[in-house]
Amino acid sequence: MSGCAEGREELASYALGLLDEPENLLFEAHLAECSGCARELEDILHTVEDLALVARDDGAMAELTAMVEPHPRFVPRESMPEHQPGAARPRVLRRRENAPPSGSPERQAALPAGEMRPRKRPKGSPWRGVRPRTRVDDSPPRRRMPAIVAAAAVLLVSAGLALVLIGPGSKDQNAARAAESPIASASTSPGQRYQNTDPRSGAHVDLVVSGGTFGSRLLVTISKVTGPRRCRLVTVDSTGATEVVSSWLVPASGYGTAANPAPLQLQATSALTVHQIARVEVQHVDPDGRLTVLVAVPIG
């Protein structure tokens, strides 16, 4: 609490991006002269970073909106046009941590990739430590899930399907997370996670679906699939209409099998919004083009 009395209320509005341009410039001028405000701003920006994550999480936003008394002149953010003309500038390539194309001079000019965000997770798990878990009696009480997730859970449980949502991470994970900037490398809302195992084929899919104004993004991990075979990833909407978003060949050793323990991890985008996707399927395509569903994951 080191901000000066005059500056600190302006400070919060500045940190949150609530000021107009002349006010921004005025506060920045003050910032150059007031070390108290500079310190407090430095501190409060961590919290603003955390709020940015909520702002991009559709489920959290829905819950937050429900928590506040509705107001007659209430317009949710989604229904407002972009207020920031610079935000949609084209981006040719969005690189992720630790993945510079080798030998690219542009990448070498930036920080060495390994130093950007050191790995803090044990290797060997596709989810690097944030494992899906089922509820066990001695685990800490489950936090209340966003309404949207709770509804999905009810639907899925009543359909006799397994839905496992990730719980809070361990202390170590929390510490590791706290050390990292949450604003790094993602351009969609954090999304919801689903998984399912098909009782017949044994195939397992672990899926994160997140929304953006382009539609939705699917992060898919597939295991217990034998090969060789041809597969495709399909989104299905509520009318049953399908869209193939990816296809690939499974090697003879399969994915997530004894012969090849590594699961297949892939990403796809769909023009359907998160709410329009009824389920995501991994389908087997036989040589004659006939389709069999290896595993289907209902989306709440």
Binding site: E9, A38, D50, H83, L111, G212
Partner: protein, 198 residues
């Protein structure tokens, strides 16, 4: 309701040069060349490596943020001592950080492209972590007093200025500003209690 939308805040973004060469955006905006060039020479590289980490190594985004930050310094040149290297650097870092966070909040217009990623190494760590962290922040928001929660929702989350939110909620402007500040501080305390210290 359109008139309630707040004006653009980032009106100073300058188009990148066609060549892809990173250079001070001087001529285009009638900016006095020399101080701007000096700012770039002295601070651009350090700022770029800082901002690159903030944005997960996205070079283009980092360059845009650095450019805007230096322009802001230049615009404030009557107050900010452009030649005082030691005092200017922390100012630049903080201003760049705020721009990066704000930029992150409002950018979800494009799918993320990851075609240069080795699939074997690809992980959804960021997404799952963001989701877990977002849940923790939601817990903290639930613990806020209703007025604090309300003002944060009506300003930050719905993209209104404090003045617009004050008008909407029937509050004096000073009260609304004060609530934004105390709401944010209360949230910070809640998050600290949950071990999220940033």
């Amino acid at each position: 309701m359109l008139d309630a939308i707040r004006p653009a805040r980032h009106d100073m973004r300058v188009p990148r040069p066609e060549s892809g060469r990173w250079a001070p955006p001087h001529q285009a905006h009638g900016i006095d060349d020399e101080p701007m060039r000096a700012l770039y020479a002295q601070h651009a590289n350090a700022l770029l490596s800082f901002v690159s980490r903030l944005v997960g190594g996205d070079r283009q985004r980092a360059e845009d943020i650095v450019q805007e930050t230096l322009l802001r310094a230049w615009r404030n040149s009557d107050k900010v001592d452009l030649h005082g290297g030691k005092t200017l650097r922390p100012w630049l870092i903080t201003v760049a950080r705020r721009i990066a966070i704000d930029d992150y909040r409002s950018d979800n217009a494009r799918p993320e492209e990851v075609y240069d990623v080795d699939l074997n190494d690809f992980s959804t760590r960021d997404e799952t972590e963001h989701m877990v962290r977002s849940m923790t922040v939601m817990e903290a928001l639930r613990e806020l007093s209703p007025p604090h929660r309300e003002i944060l929702l009506h300003t930050y989350f719905y993209g209104r200025t404090v003045a617009q939110a004050a008008d909407l909620l029937g509050l004096p402007l000073g009260t609304a500003k004060s609530r934004v500040y105390h709401g944010l501080r209360a949230l910070r305390n809640q998050l600290e209690q949950r071990g999220v210290t940033g």
